[in-house]
Point group: C3
């Protein structure tokens, strides 16, 4: 039984990862082949030749102009997945066609639709506009996680772990110590979790990047759109400095931390992370520091979740967990994911009947 | 289907292995966390946080005084397993408690009860008093075995293998050549296997440690208390030298070889071994020689049994074995283990109904 | 469910691999122990002691004259598999006997019968006489393949892949471009696939070995006798040079490429390959070149098929393939293998009832 919702948009890559070369990545258990065509569009097709399942990303398979030639027997496909040549005969079988995936390039990401292409609606892709906005400077990366994506959702929805797992980087005692408020917008499909600390220690991640040296007011406003996009609106200011009545907030530092949580397989995940800031826009040393710090923090999560995946894999069926207030957001996210999963299972059942 | 009897005492560690640090070991498939409290007692609790199953032995989890703090979200537990702090709230859920295991420190070992704690009776733990007696000098160690514990039971109950697998160390032709006698004490739960060689070659293990150079009388008296404790009473003397009528035996050398056979998982085992002698008590060179020799012998077993585990894992269900007289003790041990297993399965069925 | 036909002859080794030493190889999932007896014959028995399944090829097991002594407890067997000694007693149990396999040494190969020995008919072993004929010079080897044997059968029956996977070695555009003819001799149990190219580029494999520099006529005549023996009769001559009416063919170069496709397990294969030529018989540099070239080509296949095995292992049950004209031979071979498999399953069912 899969735990991965289908008929959903997922982040497959950063746009910068895909050029005019064959690029393969497994998304939700499907091996997908990407390349950027000569017209500049990203194309996504199944990475398996229809003939004998040879991976089209595997040498000596290669790209010739905008066609991919299988390295085993030479079956050749266009960017739309249609087969245009086979060995030993001129007739091309009608069914010789690679599965083609809807893709949209937006906010620096390449989004892919996993499921029934007829249901792909690109207006429903959640936005993260800061990532390619000139008003922000962004650092980003992706770390492979050998754990089911649900463990990363749990992790990110409950930031009390910053105090323990990320102490000395982004955690301080106030994070674990401050209660959260949680809201669920069922219609929009969003879970909100907020923690506003009025008088907190400033962790190195923010003190070194902003130059603040005293105690701070620190807001963490999470907005998670299951299954894939997670945004943490982080606001840092000296204690007592609040936004103006008109919503402007010139004396605070704003950091938009974005995660895209993309299942690779049932038990592994692509952990995309980005940190966008509205200050020190041209300061390379701040970029370098935030890139290195956030990557370190992500790798601390990866190490812990890789261990947890191994633990859970050996637990007996129906093992117990104990949830408390800090888990409210995570549990809401689980419910929403379960509903998306049930919906995609229904559709599959209909399709298969 | 497990092959590991529950409701039994097992050796978890040597006492010397456990100090005021987190120490984790898997016993009978259960991950157990140990530490020595400030009062000097060994404590044993489940190595899984009740919140999200994070291992409490995994950094950045840590011991603070006599409490363990989970490295993921900071759940904190006392030595009795009771949770004393959780993040973001002051109320501690009533059920927030780690499984706690009965432990007894005795004869240099830390014994743990695996099963229903209400049934743990520490007076039933079998004894190996030589291991911390001033009248004996002991060398000991533990080697990890990638094989089911039953293969080590088979191995130790049939010492005819010394001639072939341990030739040049402890095996001589007379071991395989001399018939055994076997007795079973069902009530006490002990299998006895004896082999008395009246006129045998002295293997290097004994000639170098005792200084005997000629032929010897060599007695091997095995006493196995399933599932865990195996004792080999080994008596070495010049040919013709026998114990006195009153049981005293001043002209012989006595070596008590003790194994504790503790399942780690269904297919791996902690192979604890100890060699206690009543001669050359203060001679470090004899200790060094016996430690190195016995470890070599154990590693010969480990190599053979690791191979055998791989073989058996690929055998079809119900593969054939052929048993002969030398296997009488091993087969008796298997029957006793099967009875212990059936009993623990019965209890589990009742508990689960 | 096995995919390996039983009651068939398979190539176990080259004769040169087996001397008066214990030699173990897994054939069709069975661990077989070989040695050459003092009389020069190859013997093949089960590589598992009947006592406790210890591998007889595993040190300290050893060969003493023509008997193998188990390294665990000393059970001793003759070349016919009969047990001749056990420890601790003089009576040898009647059933103490290793499975013994029919073997035939022929055409440089050691053939083994996997199945019911009563049905082994050595006259049905397919022949490859060039491999030890004085009229040919042969280079040969074996590469381990981490893929099911059926993938190698597919590979060898459809040589259009030479153009893509082996371009620059043995492939040229004409191989993939020229249609094949396929014939099946059900009675003899042979699949024939032929491709005759009248005017083709000469690939390095043949230009460097024959000295031909211009365009060639190139014939590929495949003869596959499932499950194990594959022969490619390769004829190379200058364009327009044909065999004489009487069948003699003095102006062409003939290369007999032989593969023996022996399943090791369900998902791994022994890929034996040999290249016999009727020219430059004493030219070591030609032998070196052909050995190195063919090994390179085989390793290209191995790399591709190892990948394909991994792909197929993760495909859902009943995944699709698309076959075209070039696959006619491969599909015929699959049908013949399926029939052999059904027949061996029938027999097994009868034997088991």
């Amino acid at each position: 039984m899969s735990t991965i919702p289908r008929n959903q948009w997922y982040v497959a890559a950063y746009g910068r990862e895909i050029g005019h070369d064959l690029f393969s990545r497994t998304i939700c258990g499907e091996s997908v082949l990407f390349w950027r065509t000569e017209s500049g569009d990203v194309t996504a097709v199944s990475d398996r030749c229809v003939h004998r399942r040879f991976p089209l990303s595997q040498a000596p398979s290669r790209l010739v102009d905008d066609q991919v030639v299988c390295g085993y027997h030479g079956f050749t496909y266009g960017a739309d997945g249609r087969c245009v040549a086979v060995p030993g005969q001129t007739r091309i079988p009608r069914t010789a066609r690679l599965t083609s995936y809807p893709v949209v390039e937006q906010d620096s990401f390449v989004w892919i639709w996993i499921g029934d292409p007829a249901r792909a609606d690109s207006t429903r892709i959640p936005r993260a506009p800061w990532l390619d906005s000139p008003d922000y400077t962004t650092v980003s990366g992706m770390e492979p996680l050998q754990a089911r994506f649900g463990l990363l959702v749990d992790n990110l929805l409950d930031l009390s772990h910053e105090t323990y797992l990320h102490g000395g980087y982004i955690g301080t005692p106030e994070v674990a110590g401050t209660p959260i408020t949680t809201e669920v917008d069922e219609e929009a499909g969003i879970v909100y979790v907020s923690r506003h600390m009025d008088d907190a220690e400033c962790p190195p991640f923010y003190s070194k990047s902003t130059g603040l040296s005293g105690r701070i007011t620190r807001w963490q406003d999470i907005e998670y759109t299951p299954p894939c996009l997670y945004k943490l609106h982080s606001r840092i200011a000296p204690v007592g400095v609040l936004p103006n009545a008109d919503g402007t907030d010139p004396d605070a530092f704003h950091v938009e931390v974005v995660y895209a949580i993309t299942p690779e397989t049932e038990n592994s995940t692509h952990d995309f992370w980005a940190v966008a800031r509205d200050f020190a826009l041209d300061d390379e040393s701040v970029s370098d520091f935030l890139r290195e710090s956030n990557r370190t923090v992500v790798l601390q999560d990866v190490a812990a979740l890789d261990v947890l995946e191994q633990v859970i894999a050996t637990e007996p069926e129906g093992y117990q967990e104990l949830s408390i207030n800090i888990d409210t957001g995570g549990l809401a996210a689980r419910r929403m994911l379960a509903a998306q999963l049930a919906q995609s299972a229904d559709r599959t059942a209909v399709a298969g009947s």
